[in-house]
Amino acid sequence: MSQENNDHSEKHEEGRVTHDIHHQFVEEHHKETSTRTIWITFWILLVVTMLEVGIAFTSVPRAILIWIFIALTLVKAYYIVFNFMHLGHERKPLIYSILLPFVLIIYLIVIALYEGSVLDIAG
């Protein structure tokens, strides 16, 4: 957007010390997400959403449709987390400590769906 401010971000490349009681030294290495990448991500999210709404009206069997929806949702989640939230630019240990706990969610889905098929509740 503003080319004249580029020297500012250069200076930030090496890092800075936080202005609080912690005085923590933070290396700054964010490769600037270009405005182009942001808009490409926007179009991907928009097209995938329209695709989801579109195929909801087709006569594809429900059982297959559900898996298509879940797959497309995970595609959208990937683009939001990695391009908008810049998780892809973080260090690997941080990425893993954020993503790995969700293994527990997969486990919960499996046991909850099993539970759901045997649960005894009034209709």
């Binding site: 957007m1 503003s2 401010n5 580029n6 971000s9 930030h12 890092g15 800075r16 010390v17 936080t18 202005h19 912690h22 005085h23 923590q24 030294f25 933070v26 290396e27 700054e28 290495h29 964010h30 600037e32 997400t33 405005t35 942001i38 808009w39 926007f42 928009l46 959403t49 329209m50 989801e52 709404v53 909801a56 559900i66 929806f69 879940i70 949702t73 959208k76 989640a77 939001i80 987390v81 391009n83 908008f84 939230m85 973080e90 260090r91 240990p93 941080l94 954020i98 706990p101 527990l104 969610i105 919960l108 889905i109 909850a112 769906l113 539970e115 759901g116 649960l119 509740i121 209709g123």
Partner: protein
């Protein structure tokens, strides 16, 4: 600690202290781990919803039969309104990431502009949600029948004098007429009754979209506070716009949750 610049330069061991081995400030890391815990809360809610829906699959209402209204349009359009809401939230996520980008370039005016648009997007989304809640609570003209024993019988669309009981059985003829005569008609949904189907559908809808809407509302408030700070030049004096990144993380997360709510509530 008293001279961090020196300490960080002489440090050879990444994890030896004095600098962030993850190359991230404590504030940003806290935000990430808060979001992980928040994602667990939303996951649990959606999984509970999935469990009950799986259990009651044959009598569960189809969401695209429930949310069919669109402003200023007579008649029913499936999925159009939630599709629009999804677009609004994605759009406000884009303006937020553009604000973060402008923050990296220390461009105060640009940050204020994009953050302002993000706030407007948040308000439009909240308004849309209020509108949808209104229609869900208000219900259809036809309504459903509350029977003497407290259960609900639903009219079957297109078939005269035919009812679907809450246990899934379909009755017609004299039996249906008797139910219509003795029961009372009610409209819409609340925490106890739901004219569209099982009351659990209403409970989950109010709880999950309400919880998400509350997150959006908090996000808008936080964005407004940050926006005022931007206008006052607080982050120029501080020397960096990291605060925008942190509130941006939260805002994108709210968008992310909506992507899942959209899929599991409206599409699947």
């Amino acid at each position: 600690m008293s001279n961090p610049a020196v300490a960080s330069n002489t440090q050879t061991n990444e994890w030896g202290g004095g600098k962030s081995p993850l190359a991230v400030s404590w504030g940003k890391m806290y935000m990430w781990f808060f979001l992980v815990s928040d994602a667990f809360t939303f996951s649990s809610l959606l999984i509970a919803y999935g469990t009950m829906r799986h259990r009651l699959a044959d009598i569960w209402p189809k969401a695209d039969d429930v949310f069919v209204h669109f402003p200023f349009v007579e008649g029913h359009i499936k999925l159009a309104y939630v599709g629009l809401m999804t677009f609004i939230l994605i759009m406000s996520s884009v303006t937020m990431v553009l604000a973060v980008d402008a923050g990296h370039k220390m461009n105060r005016k640009s940050v204020a502009w994009w953050l302002g648009l993000t706030i407007i997007g948040g308000f439009i989304f909240l308004g849309s949600q209020a509108w949808e809640w209104y229609h869900f609570i208000h219900g259809t003209e036809q309504g459903a029948i509350l029977m003497a024993d407290g259960t609900v019988a639903h009219f079957i669309e297109g078939v005269a004098n035919s009812l679907k009981l809450s246990n899934g059985t379909i009755v017609d003829g004299a039996r249906a007429q008797q139910i219509i005569d003795t029961g009372t008609v009610f409209h819409g949904a609340n925490m106890v009754h739901n004219e569209y189907g099982h009351p659990l559908f209403g409970n989950f809808f109010f709880f999950i979209t309400g919880f998400h809407g509350f997150h959006v509302f908090s996000g808008v408030l936080i964005n407004i506070i940050i926006w005022i700070n931007v206008l006052r030049g607080v982050y120029d004096r501080r020397g960096h716009y990291e605060q925008i990144e942190k509130t941006g993380l939260y805002w994108h997360f709210v968008d992310l949750v909506w992507v899942f709510v959209f899929t599991f509530f409206y599409l699947v």
